[in-house]
Amino acid sequence: MAYLTVEHLVKRYGDATVIDSLDLSVNAQETMAIMGASGCGKTTLLLTILGAIKADQGQITINDRIVNDLPIEEREIGYVPQDYGLFPHFTVSENIGFGLRVRTYPTSEKQRVIDALLETVDLKGMGGKKPRELSGGQKQRVALARALAIKPSLLLLDEPLSSIDEATKEHVRKALKDTLTRTKVTTICVVHDPEDAFILGDRIAVMHSGRIIQCDTPDHLLEAPNDSIVRKLVASMYVLRRDTSVQSTR
């Protein structure tokens, strides 16, 4: 049974319908990649699930609980924005421990969780650094650890690889995939690059003009794209997969 369901979600800004009667369901411990062109409503969908944007219509259910009227702070959703949004005046440890501080964890318990998370995201020994001293990939991992610290019911990642330079992207993406696999938290990951969607997502939802036009496993999406838009979006993956298979046969 689905862990997260979004039913008939509608969000309008004036005359523009950004989310158009959208349906989506995500299974427990699954990573759902949401892929689509810029302006198709991906981030709006994410922020609506988070509770930062109020839906005009529709229903969002997380683990059998309707969350439409719950404020953000009561939804228990981990959120990693596109620019990671690390608090600049806090150290890495203070950033990771923010949610625990809110929950008034005892200092020793808080430190234990922070240390464990620093290890999970491969940043051991960097707890005392300020965000400005970190690389893009490190910032992303701190933001991820901060979101995971609250043991979220759902994790939302908004283009987590868009600020990473090409040279390190593959490594950062693999580390992210490993962390998501290990922590088994149900995740929605908005991506722009099809390659990111295919590597990170257990399933991929292709979004266009405020709707999900196809939601499938990466393999099935390649085998049977049900729309020319989907075909166009995943076109680069045919080439990538072909190259990968040619390389692997050599």
């Binding site: 922020l47 988070l50 930062a52 404020p71 953000i72 702070e73 939804r75 228990e76 959703i77 981990g78 959120y79 924005p81 620019d83 949004g85 608090f87 600049p88 005046h89 923010f98 949610g99 501080r101 809110v102 929950r103 300020k130 400005r132 901060r146 979101a147 610290a149 609250i150």
Partner: protein, 255 residues
Amino acid sequence: MHRDKTQLIIWSLSFFFIAYMLVSLFYLYVAVGESINQVSAALFNSQVLGALTISVASAFLVGGLAVAIGVPVAYFMAFNEFRGKETLEMLLIDMPQTFPPVTEGLVYLLMLGRFRLAYTFAAVIIAKFYVSAPFTLSFLTRRFRELKGNGYDVIARSLGARTRHVLNWIMIPLSARDVVGGFSLTWARAMGELAATLVFAGAIPWQTEIIPTLVFLTSRNAPAIAMAASVIAETLSLVALFSFRLIGRGRKWLT
């Protein structure tokens, strides 16, 4: 030789403006130097010391109140969308800076005079607060809006933070420079306020008389007192503004 006329105009106007501003600011010291004996004698005049005490005390109190009230109001203005918000912001921030202070003094006299508030120290605070506090509100509203644009409040709330956490742990620490900037301008404006205070609070020595009212009342008949009061106020303002600026710059992590 080729001459760039536009650049010449820019340079000339800039030179004129800078000279005008600096001479206006520092001529007082030249005038004081010319009659140093009389001014030195007036420096420790009880009326001057009284006006200085009331001026400084009221300016700090107004600055503190502006921050204490400005923080929640700026948060309200930055984080809420409602019809007429722009007009309200104009009335709260721009209007007090353009509204004739003498008229505001009259308004307070008519409105609050009946509550025996006129000609008291409280009247000094009320009159100064109206014209000075908008500086702090303006700084904080702009900064809170900027921080909202960075999404810090949404991130903090997603981690479970309530409004008090967002405000105390995120917004205020990340606005420290703006708090100092707003406070210093509010303080400086409060130090210089004359008309509203004179009309609503009068000029009772050691109670409501402040440096500007003392200068206004003595400039004709006792110029040495006016000059002594002015030179103290101006020096204090310069020192205070430079100090506030240094404090603001000291917070290097607030970039």
